[in-house]
């Protein structure tokens, strides 16, 4: 379970200080799906970074299962990311020189999984997202949708407890967007993940059970009655 208490984040750019988050309080239960939406520059990605342990808040605490991500050591935070958190990026962020299978394997490297098992698990993950025939393809040989599927396989191959997605369909056309969202929702249900999704796409937000809207660094959470599980 995530528990964010009084989370603030300030950036200093020259003489100017930008307050990206202002005293955010938020609880995300295990297995929940939360969509964070809001205008560009509103603080969506910054909040996701705090939740994912990619950055630390200036003030406040971000607790995951009672562990404060804001105060633990860098090494422990890195380990926690490797074990518990899967992340999907808008631009896929695949390593361009590695094949699809190798890209998925990169998520298992910090866990010390042996090469043979690593290869097997990566292949299995790719098959689960419909890319069983594309194991040896490098990113440039794959479409945008396929690349995002590789990224999803990479995020899920380590069997994380949390899946974070930062605008996962932002670079995709509408048809592919729906496919990817359907895949993500299917995996969320299948694996019982805690799923936090950042998007500015209202159509995606409308399908979520819980939506957090962030504006000027402040958060408003809405439980959506129309959500049908």
């Amino acid at each position: 379970m995530y528990k964010l208490t009084g989370v603030s984040k300030r950036y200093t750019r020259g003489k100017e200080t930008v307050e990206a988050l202002r005293g955010i309080d938020l609880v995300i239960e295990d297995g929940d799906q939360l969509v964070i939406q809001g205008p560009t520059g509103g603080g969506k990605s910054t909040l996701l970074q705090m939740i994912g342990g990619l950055d630390r808040p200036t003030e406040g605490s971000v607790q995951l299962d009672g562990v404060d991500l804001a105060s633990i050591s860098e090494a422990r935070l890195t380990r926690l990311r490797a074990e518990k958190i899967g992340i999907i990026f808008q631009a896929f962020n695949l390593i361009p020189t590695l094949t699809a299978q190798e890209n998925v394997e990169t998520a298992l490297v910090p866990l010390g999984v042996k090469p043979a098992e690593r290869r097997e698990r990566a292949a299995e993950a790719l098959r689960s997202v419909g890319l069983g025939e594309r194991l040896s393809h490098v990113p440039t040989e794959l479409s945008g949708g396929q690349q995002q599927r590789v990224a999803i396989a990479r995020a899920l191959v380590k069997k994380p407890r949390v899946l974070l997605a930062d605008e996962p369909t932002g670079n995709l056309d509408e048809g592919t967007r729906d496919d990817i969202m359907a895949l993500l929702e299917g995996l969320w249900r299948e694996h019982g993940l805690t799923f936090v999704l950042v998007t500015h796409d209202s159509s995606i937000a409308r399908r979520a059970p819980r939506v957090a809207t962030i504006k000027a660094g402040q958060l408003t959470v809405t439980d959506q009655d129309q959500y049908v599980s």
Binding site: S45, L48, Q49, G52, L54, D55, E74, A75, T78, R79, R81, A82, E83, I87, F89, Q90, A91, N93, I95, P96, T97, L98, E102, E105, T106, A107, V109, P110, L111, P115, R118, R154, D166, E167
Partner: protein
């Protein structure tokens, strides 16, 4: 994953990898070339010094130079008798002088050998023999036939004619014809200690015909001739050579390791002392130290304990070497060294900047890996690994280029000249090496040596090059790795294009 990732990254960035590798290769090739040329220079200098000293000699001891007094001008003088009548009898005279005219007592050899740090010492006596032979012919005095008082008469004339005969009371008679024809032949003789030929003048020669002295021939009338002298004068083993009236049996022909060795005839020391009227005297003491690193200390000890001597070490001798060898050597050790350092430093800097720049372009990549849970050390290792491979590639290229350059130098063998200051005859600083050669007329020629330059590449140089390549890679990698390690995973999300 490390190996696969590294291989793929280097394949993808071939051009950048090649630029880094070529930069390092250039620096490393230069280091190898300069090192090998310097080694060649060193060898050339050692060759020059060995030709003077002999292999194994660490220093020589000679008498401290003093101003000549009285008749010690050192110039040879000859006495010839003018013959009466029309005699054209050949006259000959040998003049034997010690080279430089500075000698030491033989007892000093034992004294020097007893000094702390001295392994062994032997004495040698260098002599110059100037042989003048020829004859006079008389000139004829011819009087003017128009003058009744004149009558033919003969008179002795010096070379070219001169005054002589009856000058008469009227017009002097004109001397026609007459003169002198003399050949001057100079050569060098060195008396060697036959009981220890491993050190001293004979140490730099190889007996190519006959044999060398036996230890029993300390006072035997035997001689070893240099190849060039034997060839020029058509001597072979078994024949006799006459020096100042004394006959010596030729027992061996010695070929010097350096073409510039200047001794023509080697005699047992005692024979040379008799020949040069220098009983119990030597001109040079050759010294071998027990430890080559203690040469300066041994030099000081000898100079302190045996006053009136000049001790010359290889280092002193090297300072007297001038000419293109010296210039090139200085060039290699100063300009070459600094050029290598500058190029290498520039190559390291370029490699570091390019690696750092490559890391900057891979912010998202490294940020993503960190977001996936890769520890900083693993990301750093990846960057350093790529950089070290670049360095090794540069090293391999550099070693190849360096070897080609060294091979080219050795093949082309540029000739360098070495001018040896104050050689022969106990000049200050040099202490009168074994040569000095061939009398005054040949002195300056003997002091200039021509040496072919080679560029030997040692395993140490190759190891140094490989070390530099790895160092270059590590420096570049450290810079790139440092940047990568400081990168935050959040950067991966921010740098969405």
């Amino acid at each position: 994953m490390f190996g696969i990732y590294l291989k793929r990254e280097l394949s993808r960035r071939k051009k950048a990898a090649l630029v880094i590798a070529m930069g390092l290769a250039l620096g490393i090739a230069l280091v190898i070339t300069v090192s090998s040329v310097s080694a060649g220079m060193q060898q050339a200098q050692e060759k020059v010094l060995q030709s003077l000293y002999g292999l194994g000699t660490d220093m020589t001891v000679t008498k401290a130079r003093s101003a000549p007094t009285g008749n010690q001008s050192g110039r040879p003088s000859f006495d010839f008798d003018a013959s009466a009548n029309d005699s054209t009898e050949t006259q000959s005279s040998d003049r034997v002088t010690t080279q430089g005219g500075q000698t030491l007592k033989s007892a000093l050899v034992t004294e020097v050998a007893a000094q702390k740090g001295v392994a062994t010492a032997v004495g040698a006596l260098s002599l110059n023999v100037t042989k003048v032979d020829g004859s006079f012919t008389q000139g004829k005095a011819k009087t003017d036939t128009s003058s009744p008082s004149s009558s033919p008469s003969s008179g002795q004339g010096g070379p070219g004619g001169g005054q002589g005969g009856d000058t008469g009371s009227t017009a002097p008679p004109e001397i026609q014809g007459g003169g002198a024809s003399f050949d001057v032949n100079s050569y060098s003789v060195t008396g060697v200690d036959v009981t220890n030929q491993e050190l001293g003048p004979l140490a730099t020669t190889t007996i190519t015909s006959g044999k060398t002295f036996t230890t029993a021939q300390t006072d035997a009338k035997v001689a070893v001739l240099s190849t060039s002298y034997a060839k020029e004068n058509k001597y072979t083993v078994g024949e006799t050579v006459t020096i100042s009236g004394t006959k010596y049996k030729v027992i061996g022909i010695a070929t010097p390791e350096s073409s510039e060795a200047t001794t023509d005839v080697y005699l047992p020391l005692k024979q040379a002392q008799t020949l040069g009227d220098s009983a119990n005297l030597v001109s040079t003491i050759y010294v071998q130290a027990t430890d080559s690193k203690q040469i300066d200390t041994v030099k000081s000890t000898i100079q302190k304990n045996i006053p009136g001597t000049t001790v010359t070490t290889s280092a002193d001798l090297a300072e007297t070497v001038s000419g293109s060898l010296s210039t090139a050597s200085n060039l290699a050790t100063s300009v070459g060294k600094w050029l290598s350092i500058a190029v290498l430093a520039a190559a390291f800097l370029v490699a570091a900047l390019l690696t750092s720049s490559a890391v900057s372009r891979r912010v998202r990549e490294f940020g993503t890996l960190k977001a996936l849970g890769w520890p900083s050390r693993r990301v750093t290792r990846q960057v350093v690994g790529e950089s070290v491979v670049n360095g090794l590639l540069g090293g391999a290229l550099g070693i190849g280029l360096g070897l080609v350059a060294a091979y080219a130098v050795t093949t082309y063998s540029p000739k360098l000249t070495a001018q040896l200051g104050n050689t022969g005859g106990g000049g200050s600083g040099m202490g009168g090496g074994p040569g000095g050669g061939g009398g005054p007329g040949q002195q300056s020629a003997a002091n200039t040596m021509e040496i072919a330059l080679s560029a030997p590449v040692s395993l140490t140089t190759i190891a140094l090059a490989a070390g530099l390549a790895i160092t270059g890679g590590l420096i570049a990698g450290a810079m790139g790795g440092w940047r990568a390690s400081r990168m935050r995973p959040a950067d991966a999300l921010r740098s969405v294009s």
